[in-house]
Symmetry: C2
DNA sequence: TCCTTATTTGACTGATCGTTCCATAATTTG
DNA sequence: CAAATTATGGAACGATCAGTCAAATAAGGA
């Protein structure tokens, strides 16, 4: 056997997420990453391959963490609609930190198959969880039954992005909260 | 007097918009711009200063054009709510072309004062036009009077961004139309 | 026609890009 | 201790970056 890694891959990846989320991919240099991850240049390339693979890994990890947080919030509250509301409230509360998912979609769209697969995987997981809560809320009367649940779930997802773009544009927390409230109002 | 320009500045700017809107700022090279604008490199620098100023000029022009289109759609229809609906319908119809405004906000946030001023100028113009229609719609009964009109206007703006981000992520036209419909539903 | 003033063209700058190579040091297992 | 494996830092790679310089060209006004 040999010398074990001195740094934690996950910690390094978290640092990469931090860099990519507020600079994007193209504007981030390898030197910046070396500085931010606190590992040597060679260790970076040995561990993650190259800049693009590191980016993919960062987006993958971020998406998983972020989706986890969404799902946890969704389980909140006595009624299903409370869970949806809690999820949106969390988005509002954390909106000052740029979303790597939104940034990644805006920067690349669907032009990079490997990246798109990551987005879709996280998207499916979030969508089905929201869909589940929407349907439960419809049974409880928290969401109108006339609304197509699939569309409602997509609407909620889209409004998460809307809140985050608004935040990136400089909107206040109060204004973001109003966006969440009006989005929910559309489902009532 | 001396030799006149062989190219049209506005045409060149339109070409720059085209490049920036689907590559972003950082990923666009000066060489790419020279190729796309069909003018010499020196003409580019003489006319627009440098890459950043060209970008600012492109965003400025794009924002103005886009806001014009929004305002034109807003005037449509017998009722004010019809104008808002027409505006969203146009956004859905044109969503396959990436929005430079959204891209610019996601790439830079509010970190670049000169850029932020451009966004805010276009934002104010659009906001006040939407606000005007929202208030009219409230008098006509198309939008519930209990809703704060300022918040309603911001909600509509945010949902324009939502539709565009969803489109960039690969959503179908049908799904985008559903987003527009549900957004309007929140105001009824 | 000739001079003045711009525009165009293409070669060229130093800097930085992402990435690799290499030598050295460190640490664990056999 | 020796062998194996990994981390580190610096030097270097060719490519490309944004931006500049200077010569060539073209179009006014006199």
């Amino acid at each position: 056997m040999a010398r074990p890694k001195e740094f934690d891959t996950a910690t390094a990846l978290d640092a990469a997420i931090e860099v990519f989320r507020d600079k994007g991919y193209a504007a981030t240099s390898a030197s910046t990453l070396v500085g931010a991850l606190h590992i040597g240049r060679q260790s970076l390339y040995d561990t993650f391959g190259d800049k693009w693979r590191l980016y993919l890994e960062a987006v993958r990890r971020y998406s998983a963490q972020e989706t986890d947080a969404h799902l946890a919030a969704l389980k909140t509250g006595p009624r299903a609609i409370d869970g949806i509301e809690a999820m949106l409230a969390r988005v509002v509360a954390t909106a000052s930190e740029t979303c790597l998912g939104v940034g990644s979609i805006c920067e690349f769209g669907t032009t990079q198959p490997e990246l798109t697969k990551i987005h879709e995987a996280a998207g499916r997981r979030l969508h089905s969880a929201i869909l589940d809560r929407v349907q439960a809320a419809q049974k409880e009367g928290g969401i109108a039954s006339v609304i197509d649940p699939e569309q409602a779930a997509q609407f909620v997802t889209a409004n998460i992005a809307a809140i985050r773009v608004a935040a990136r544009a400089g909107s206040s927390g109060k204004d973001l909260a109003a966006l969440a409230r009006l989005a929910l109002r559309g489902l009532r």
